[in-house]
Point group: C2
């Protein structure tokens, strides 16, 4: 017999976890849409040439790619930005600019799973294309901050920097300076020296003051509702610099050390990749898995993620009809109600099933209750039981 197992780095999400994921996605979508962002979907498979060479050596190494049945070289979605660039040039006569889109889909990377990384993970991206006004950068910050607020985060920080802080420093030096938060000042300086850079450039970068243009972005973000206290100018922040051309943003949660909860910035040279013209762009990508991890730690998920509100038990085959009628009427009152589908199962076992599934309420309907036209409503947390008329039932559950 074949062993039932998932591939390393791939995950199943059983209901409890799947509901948390859906919850985060729903909250994010609602925030995105409140700012005028609209959904976009692209396929899992693309022509290999669309994706190859777009993510550096590492991307080419980690990309899932193969020859399909029709001898075409194909590759699996690696991120959502290169497909966005393809979409924008493929449909350039249809898509009005500015194009504000969100995209929430899984991507695939053959990562080293020993580092706690997954090979299939959901990316949540927002991007505004076609404008390079400061207000566009500011709005990306405002939406991202609002999203974290709506998820229940209070003490997140918005680190901000600009590509211009680094002037014409070589990429190698920038990459080392970018590690400051991770490895500390001493190690950054040492690594700079090892690579024949003056270790003094770290201090020089650290002493950079806020530029007028970045200051304007921050000011507009404030007007858009972002708490100024949350925005921190961080001149060593780079986030893979060959990509960003202007504002660079990162959102982190101080007590969560494993990394940022999301990041983004302005990247004016990428979206035009497949077109003849330059398309300015600014975006933000939410670290979906990390957000869920931190929300679990901080207990930010609502207790009522349980979708099923009540289990209607079946006392006996004879009384099954009564249970069905009640279930129907609960659903009409917009209460998610499950009916136990087997009259031969003892009530005890039906109650145990409700416990296992964390269903908060159970309705029991024996011959006594039917005679009196009532039901027993059992609160599975407090184990408290109440006898109620059918009229009282919906409110007692809501």
């Amino acid at each position: 017999m074949i062993k039932p197992q998932t591939l390393k780095g791939f995950r199943d999400f059983l209901p409890e976890q799947a509901k948390k994921r859906q919850y985060v996605i729903e909250v994010l979508k609602k925030v995105f849409e409140s700012y005028g962002f609209e959904p976009l979907e692209t396929p899992v498979l693309e022509y290999e040439e669309i994706l190859a060479g777009k993510y550096g050596d590492e991307g080419d190494k980690l990309m899932y790619r193969f020859e399909d049945n029709g001898k075409r070289r194909v590759a699996m979605r690696y991120d959502q930005t290169v497909p966005l660039a393809r979409v924008v040039s493929q449909y350039q006569n249809i898509i009005p600019l500015p194009f504000k889109r969100y995209q929430i889909q899984p991507v695939f990377r053959a990562e080293n799973t020993q580092k706690g990384r997954y090979r299939e993970f959901v990316q949540c991206d927002i991007d505004t294309l076609g404008l390079n006004s400061s207000a566009t950068d500011a709005e990306i910050i405002a939406v991202s901050a609002k999203a974290f607020e709506k998820l229940g985060f209070n003490d997140f920080r918005i680190l901000i920097n600009s590509r211009s802080t680094f002037g014409d420093l070589p990429i190698k030096a920038i990459t080392i300076i970018d590690k400051l938060k991770k490895i500390g000042e001493k190690n950054v300086k040492e690594e700079l020296r090892k690579n024949d850079f003056d270790s003094g450039i770290l201090e020089k970068i650290q002493k950079t003051t806020l530029s007028d243009s970045l200051n304007l972005v921050i000011k507009i973000a404030q007007k858009m509702g972002v708490d100024k206290e949350k925005i921190i100018f961080e001149p060593t922040l780079a986030r893979g610099l060959d990509y960003y051309t202007g504002t660079i943003i990162e959102i982190d949660y101080p007590t969560y050390q494993a990394g940022s909860l999301g990041g983004g910035g302005r990247y004016d040279n990428l979206i035009g990749l497949f077109a003849d013209k330059k398309v300015p762009a600014v975006g933000f990508s939410f670290g979906f898995d990390r957000i869920i991890e931190v929300m679990d730690e901080l207990k930010l998920f609502p207790s009522e993620l349980q979708t099923t509100k009540v289990l209607v038990t079946i006392f006996s085959l004879e009384l099954a009809d009564k249970s069905m009628t009640i279930t129907n009427s609960l659903r009409t009152s917009n209460i998610n109600a499950e009916i136990y589908l087997d009259a031969n199962t003892k009530i005890d076992k039906q109650l145990k099933y409700a416990d296992q599934k964390n269903i908060p309420y159970v309705i029991i309907l024996g011959p006594e209750e039917v005679k009196k036209n009532t039901v027993i409503l059992k609160n599975m947390k407090t184990r408290e039981q109440k006898q109620l008329t059918l009229d009282q039932l919906p409110n007692a559950i809501k």
Copy 2:
């Protein structure tokens, strides 16, 4: 330059289409959850041995499979039932039975695209595992019918049959009889004869009467709220019989000839595939793409799928702050409001953008309005303009 294009059989969904897809998924999820079904997610990639050989010769031919970077043979999700079978045995100590789950994910099949088929398409499945009561079959019918109702369908039909109708007829004969709706009586009989069957078996099957057990399923479905008029006993219905072991269901829309809008039934031999035990199962799969196609034809999508309700224009850089304040307050009133992010764009062009994006309302805020503490609200459909105070604004838009 690389040509921006999608692979044959793969699709991008631009916002208008993506919103329709999200709408259908939201409606379905809500119905599923109201009956106690919970979400499950499985990975796109599985070990090849998990999927290979499970879908007949055609499945093995159409499956996307390849060797990954770690020399593992892997395959892309082909349906959601075999992964469900894997999940149920992999987590058998964690998942309480009955297990009622829904799953909405893309699957991948290298289909002949000339037949109008897609190579990546979303499947929407509900299944109840662990029970073989008639009520379980009935509930699957009730949920499916409710889902079509909530999507706005009126005149759908629920065709129903049972595996037992065919007795011990060879599969080949059943497959031919199953084509009745598609190719008509004459052709079915001819094909039966060609394959050395007595063409009289068609009539024999057609004359089969409703069995007691199927009758019970229908009766319970009615008690669960299904309109009896919609249920039609169709003794020639088979839907790939080597799979189904009991009830067989299909939902179609009479004027839509291209095929059914969904189907399912009882299949008690498949879910135990990776376990030592037998797990009874009944389920239904919604034809997602066809449902959207028919809903488009019948105009069943709500006119208000447009997520952005209002575009707040920017009259000039000086007045930008005022526009931002109004946008913030609209969002606080739960109105999805987009602000135009460039003060240098002429109002005419901003209005044109709202038209292109089908945004129903535009707010214009010039020096006159600011002086009077009012705004102009323009209805983009009627082109009607009103001058309103800020207090009047939310209600005028809602």
